[in-house]
Symmetry: C2
Subunit: 453 residues, 2 copies
Amino acid sequence: VARPIGIGLLGCGAVGRGVMSILRANAERIAARAGGRLALRRIATQDVSKFRDDVEPPLLTGDPWAVVHDPDVEIVVELLGGLEPARTLIAEALRQGKAVVTANKAVLARHGTELQATAARHGAPLLFEAAVAGAIPIIKPLQECLAASRIQSILGIIDGMNNAILTGMARDGLDFSAALQRARQLGCLAGDTGADDVERRTAALRAHVEGYDAAFTLAILASAAFETRVRVEDVFCEGITHISLADIQYGRELGYVLKPLAIAKEGEGRLELRVHPAFIPREHPLAAVNDLFSAVFVRSDAGGELMLCGRGTGVLPAASAVVADIIEAAKRLRSGLRGVPPAPERTLPVKPIDEVVSRFYVALEPADDPGVLAAVAGAFGRWGIGIRAAMQRERFAAPAESFASPIDLVFLTHAVQEARLRRALAEIDQLDGVRRIRHVIRVEEPEPSQPTA
Amino acid sequence: VARPIGIGLLGCGAVGRGVMSILRANAERIAARAGGRLALRRIATQDVSKFRDDVEPPLLTGDPWAVVHDPDVEIVVELLGGLEPARTLIAEALRQGKAVVTANKAVLARHGTELQATAARHGAPLLFEAAVAGAIPIIKPLQECLAASRIQSILGIIDGMNNAILTGMARDGLDFSAALQRARQLGCLAGDTGADDVERRTAALRAHVEGYDAAFTLAILASAAFETRVRVEDVFCEGITHISLADIQYGRELGYVLKPLAIAKEGEGRLELRVHPAFIPREHPLAAVNDLFSAVFVRSDAGGELMLCGRGTGVLPAASAVVADIIEAAKRLRSGLRGVPPAPERTLPVKPIDEVVSRFYVALEPADDPGVLAAVAGAFGRWGIGIRAAMQRERFAAPAESFASPIDLVFLTHAVQEARLRRALAEIDQLDGVRRIRHVIRVEEPEPSQPTA
């Protein structure tokens, strides 16, 4: 019988306790899959006293370095969150040849390439499925099941919180703040590692609705999918805080659903990397991904189209993804070869958002002027921007007490470079008949799928 | 530099040629992922002359045993289809400790447990991702990413052909035979290994629409997910040939979408295994899986809900899944430990369809009798079967030339054991006011998802 493999936890909040309870409850099944028993050897936590009843005292320590340096710990599970000391602890564990499992999005998005290089140099497995879209297995399928294909694009709904907010608005007619309130009640923030006090929870909330959280995830995903270094600063990022119910309704009438998208595409040697709300056609599989579900839609040359979708948020799914990575790490440690992939060596240039080509939804508030539709259409025409749809009508869901509902003028353009659209809009904004440009939303129209015969 | 690992192909139809072209086109990337080069050593095909221009003649042989016994072949890729000689060839390759990659659904559904036992005995990897839902990686995620969870249920749309037919009916108003015609044109049958002549294509077509193909897939899936021996004979199987446009339309009005489902559930120590068309709520993620897409929706105790969805049919996705398995096999051969899971040792009893509890859609054709609605509702009541919805109306989509459209009487029941429903229907069939029971369709209503906090 093989000696059990020792596990050390750095940090023991909600996810850590979930990991402990899964390791305990499913010990048999996990041992069978990992090729032998696992044993929890050390737990570093700031609040040792909290665990006195649950855990044998000698396992507990207040010092994370004691875990990393413990010779009986072969797999270090980092659940501290934040950049430091997480980064230094992970790097040191890898240098000692230990396997590291982490759910730390921030540290991977900032220092992933450097940590992967350390891992490769020391033949130490570095696993981070839990850092990306929670329990949805996406890194492994990307790296393994699609190993025979070249990935062309990734469209993702990778922030379940934002998806729950937009679903609440679109389906239940809630406004942004009511939808936000409900999404929080659904408990999706409870899963945020370390977000235990009010200040951190508020920061975590902002990171969601302003798109930063998704940008971190996308940086990690794109790096794995395109085998390139990705800096999180290169991800264009726009939040969902300015979305209005009226826009969602107009989009629906035009056949679209508004989703919080993360997009990575390779084309002509450059990478598009962007996180923003976007309209997608209502027939697209992502359009049906609602509430706290996340999803990643991958297009590859040989594998065709693939979507992975699941409830990515919450403590238990996150803990389950961590345990799956622990099992994988144990298998690799037991095997001779550790299967450590090399860190990406190339850095694909990133296309500036100005040069990105897409379709746009533009909502204007016109003055009470009969010629405005023609004037705006004319301005689009002078800039060579084709119009796919236009509609003018009283504002959807205007407050009942307003005497005259505002008028909305909505356009859907053909594909155009973003810089050109911005220049056209600057001119349109100056037109007499235009009170203000209320909103511009990108429209993501995936190419029709190729019949793979 | 490591010696290249030798590959031998058994059979070289469309998928085999796809495998060859992917191995050639992506050689660099594949070598990087497999930990070293792969080399095609031997190809067995019935028609050696077809390949003279493409392949160096010494690689070709008419004798599959020459491939299995070739000492330079370390990975045997079985693409013959059918039970024999595939089964004997696979078993012999495993006995020699070679890795086997197969896309052969039939042989796995019939002899999977026995072949897995042979693989385990000889430490030989047996990989079959390509046999299940084409390019959708499902076996690996089930076995690895969900390793920490106990799977509770699987709902799948695992026959892209049938899904394309029902989509054509539901979305485009085609009748069954027109939808079938179009689904065939979409080319999904082109991907069927070996279905090169008319007779085999017709047999393959029947296997789809009568549900047998999905039953084979479900047997393999359920065996992997629940770690139990599954006999394909134990899968209850009902085809989609009797579906009418009217039923799809009535279902839609009640809030449901008709899908060709495959269902496996564990409960109270027994397994439900069934393949049949079923109504699912239109909000369910599977309801949006259309056309040639397949999908598998998995519920597990810790991992929550997970859906994998992709275009499972077609030559290129199938070939890409085979190559991904070849890469995995090469990695395992290079590592000391071969990661061969033990064959399932338990055999969970299967619940007879009579004892399965679900909701039902029942469509009746009443005689011209004012009391019939009350009479039928009364009969349901006497059997203790609750009614969730009832409607009576002129037949949807009745031929224009018919003077009097037939009347349809439609019921949606509460959950009831199938045997009890059948007994109630036998009584209802005898009622004076009932001309005939036109159709009974199961309704699959997944439990509301638990907020995973």
